[in-house]
């Protein structure tokens, strides 16, 4: 079915719903690369006019990617909660924006309708929203998850400690991990991107993290960010796996490019649950996403990259994850060209994920071939802190020497806490107080050279 709108004497036609959505999207290089973006600023606004009038019920009736050929579409359609949807079923996309911004849509109401919202609905409404709208609504959403601590409470911010090393050297990893802990980071997860695929090397890393967490009784969880099939094998070999990680995307074919499907994720989820390693809760999955992944795999079906990203959240939602991380600027300028596009995408992803009921965090990041710098990251970091992001990354000096990109640093997390008054996960903050890392107010204390945490390191100097 085609959609039409007129601006002045000019009449615009959009062949179908996915075309309408793509034309309405704020400009970004990935949609231009895919050939789905609006050709003019006016066409973009014409598409938004038409999109504002589309009834939400349309998204329940019309699949952007055919039901028969895509298991993510089937998941979205089959798991749609019609009872939860009933409250907003009569609204159009434009009216949904007004409803979301209204005072009646408080935290409880947003949580109530979340199962009735589909990724396409939230993607559509985001295209009509300004950055401040994305922030305001996301700030009303509450998504709290638990494993060994509590993440997502109002007024709180957690940090993934990311102590990567280019050759997975255990001492190098331990040094970065200590640096992060002594800067008060690591409540979301201590998570390593390994350089290796070797199961025995992965097991070594799992043990390294598990030993530190156990020895110092740190109320946090560990994760080795390897392929889900590796994690399943590690669990079968009785390696202590806390969280199971996987990169996911919003179409069946893009997920196939990652070497996964829902059946494999189901198996991994069950394997992780079987270990019962969480003490406070059983949110055991850690997912990463990012706009552009479907196009990059040649699997976007003509759907714009922001809508594809929102569909990935439907995959995540099935597994009640502890953490969902949109790695927003990692993919490069052919998908998000500059600081402006990265900032907008970060806010969209956080908004869409939160509205769908997910514990969204953000890797506020960029690569050196993107038109972006630390100032852009400061801006996005501050905006996401204001929007109530569940967690951010903590990388020593913001420079990941294994993945070769810039993320946020331990100092950045302290900055955000200071200006916005954000606290750490309560169990983790209590531990930091007991360890003498922070004072009762959560402020960093000077650490002596004989701090017990430094006992993690081997005594001798590096060779």
């Amino acid at each position: 079915m085609a959609y039409f709108s007129s601006i002045g004497v000019k009449r615009y036609r959009f062949d179908d719903l996915k075309t309408l959505m793509a034309r309405a999207t704020p400009e970004r290089s990935g949609d231009c690369l895919a050939g789905v973006a609006a050709e003019s600023a006016e066409e973009r606004m014409a598409a938004r006019l038409a999109l504002a009038d589309v009834p939400l019920s349309t998204f329940v009736e019309q699949a952007l990617i055919p039901y028969e050929s895509d298991e993510v579409t089937r998941l979205i359609m089959d798991s749609h909660d019609r009872a939860a949807f009933a409250e907003i079923a009569s609204l159009s996309v434009g009216e949904l924006r007004d409803w979301l911004l209204g005072d009646a849509a408080d935290s409880a109401a947003l949580a109530r309708v979340a199962p009735g919202l589909t990724p396409e609905m939230v993607a559509a409404v985001s295209k009509l929203m300004r950055n401040q709208d994305l922030i305001l609504v996301a700030a009303k959403c509450r998504v709290v998850t638990r494993f060994r601590n509590t993440i997502g409470l109002p007024g709180h911010l957690a940090v993934r400690l990311q102590p990567n090393h280019p050759t997975d050297d255990p001492r190098g990893i331990a040094a970065s991990m200590l640096d992060g802990l002594l800067y008060g980071c690591g409540d979301a997860v201590i998570g390593i991107n390994p350089a290796t695929d070797s199961l025995s090397a992965l097991a070594t890393l799992e043990h390294l993290l598990a030993d530190v967490i156990e020895r110092y009784r740190i109320p946090t969880q560990s994760c080795i960010l390897t392929h889900v099939t590796n994690s399943i094998q590690l669990i079968e070999r009785s390696v202590p796996v806390d969280l199971v990680f996987q990169s996911i995307a919003g179409t069946e074919r893009a997920n196939a490019g990652f070497g996964i499907n829902l059946a494999i994720l189901d198996e991994a989820h069950q394997a992780a649950l079987s270990l019962e390693r969480g003490t406070l809760g059983d949110n055991v999955m850690y997912f990463e996403t990012g706009q552009g992944s479907a196009l990059s795999a040649g699997a976007h079906h003509g759907v714009d990259q922001q809508t594809c990203e929102a569909r990935a959240y439907a995959v995540a939602r099935r597994y009640r994850p502890l953490l969902v991380n949109t790695v927003v600027g990692f993919i490069g300028p052919e998908y998000l060209y500059d600081g402006k596009q990265i900032i907008r995408a970060g806010l969209e992803d956080h908004f869409c994920g939160k509205l769908l009921g997910l514990p969204l965090g953000c890797d506020v990041c960029y690569t050196n071939h993107a038109e972006a710098d630390q100032d852009d990251m400061d801006t996005l970091l501050t905006l996401l802190g204001t929007a109530g992001v569940n967690f951010i990354m903590g990388v020593p000096g913001a420079d990941d020497i294994m993945l070769n990109y810039q993320s946020t640093s331990f100092h950045d997390a302290l900055y955000l806490r200071r200006v916005l008054g954000l606290k750490r996960a309560p169990e983790f903050e209590q531990w930091l107080v007991e360890m003498g890392v922070v004072d009762a107010g959560g402020r960093l204390l000077p650490a002596s050279a004989s701090h017990p945490l430094l006992g993690v390191m081997p005594k001798q100097e590096a060779a």
Partner: protein, 250 residues
């Protein structure tokens, strides 16, 4: 610089990693010296991406060492286009295609040197690497054809280059995405019977070729091993496992 900032007591951990640890702080913020140090690294990485590829100067140096060179250009006309349109960086501009197809060659292997995302890497590493690589290949009786110098090039541009020159093997040397501590890193991609439409799974890759990474000699040794294996097996890519390490260990 004065010592208003607070030092971290775990300075000695710096010997275990190149990561930016124990940076100290002023309140909760980075000390000035660290902000500047980071700024320099980012500036160098940015410059590596945007520095134009001086193909003429490289050609002159290679010619002086007895190499034959050919010039080429992708369909990406400038850097902004190159960064936005990876598809155009994988196709030869029509004039370049004509010139390459007209070139008379008879050889086992051609090199394509492309700027990729770091001209600096190519400027600094291509010449010494090629000299090292040629001497090893010739010892094995493998003839090295012309070196194609390609502007605004992606890895897959080498497939079309190989087609035009009718080469059995193409080795692409290309500037890698620069990291903060590695603005000068060269990547190498080897493809057997390359043709338009080859995928990354058809290639073997050697990365991080640079002073502080993989040396030119070791990279050339690995490449020669892969070249010989590719010729022996008649393939490259995921089915050609790099076991050159095992050879070294013996």
């Amino acid at each position: 610089m004065s010592d208003i900032s607070q030092q971290d007591s775990w300075q000695k951990l710096k010997c275990f990693t190149a990561a930016r640890i124990a940076l100290g702080r002023c309140g909760v913020s980075l000390p000035t010296r660290e902000v500047l140090r980071f700024g320099i690294a980012h500036a160098q990485a940015r410059d590596a991406v945007h520095l134009p590829f001086d193909a003429e100067a490289l050609a002159a140096r290679l010619t002086a060492h007895g190499f034959t060179t050919l010039m080429a250009q992708s369909q990406a006309c400038d850097r902004p286009t190159y960064l936005r349109r990876p598809d155009l960086g994988r196709k030869l501009a029509p004039a370049a295609r004509q010139a390459l197809c007209a070139a008379e060659t008879s050889c086992d292997l051609v090199f394509m040197v492309g700027d990729g995302l770091s001209s600096r890497a190519v400027h600094e590493q291509a010449e010494p690497f090629l000299i090292e690589a040629r001497s090893r290949l010739e010892k094995e009786g493998i003839s090295v054809g012309p070196v194609v110098l390609a502007r605004q090039a992606r890895v897959a541009l080498g497939d079309e280059v190989a087609e035009c020159l009718q080469a059995k093997l193409v080795v692409v040397l290309i500037g890698e995405r620069p990291g903060l501590s590695s603005p000068d890193s060269l990547g190498l991609y080897l493809t057997w019977q390359a043709h338009v439409g080859c995928s990354d799974a058809d290639r073997n890759c050697i990365s991080n070729i640079r002073g502080a990474g993989l040396s030119h000699a070791l990279a050339a040794q690995k490449m020669t091993w892969l070249v010989l294996q590719a010729r022996h097996l008649g393939l490259s890519g995921v089915n050609l496992k790099d076991e050159s390490d095992l050879i070294e260990a013996q």
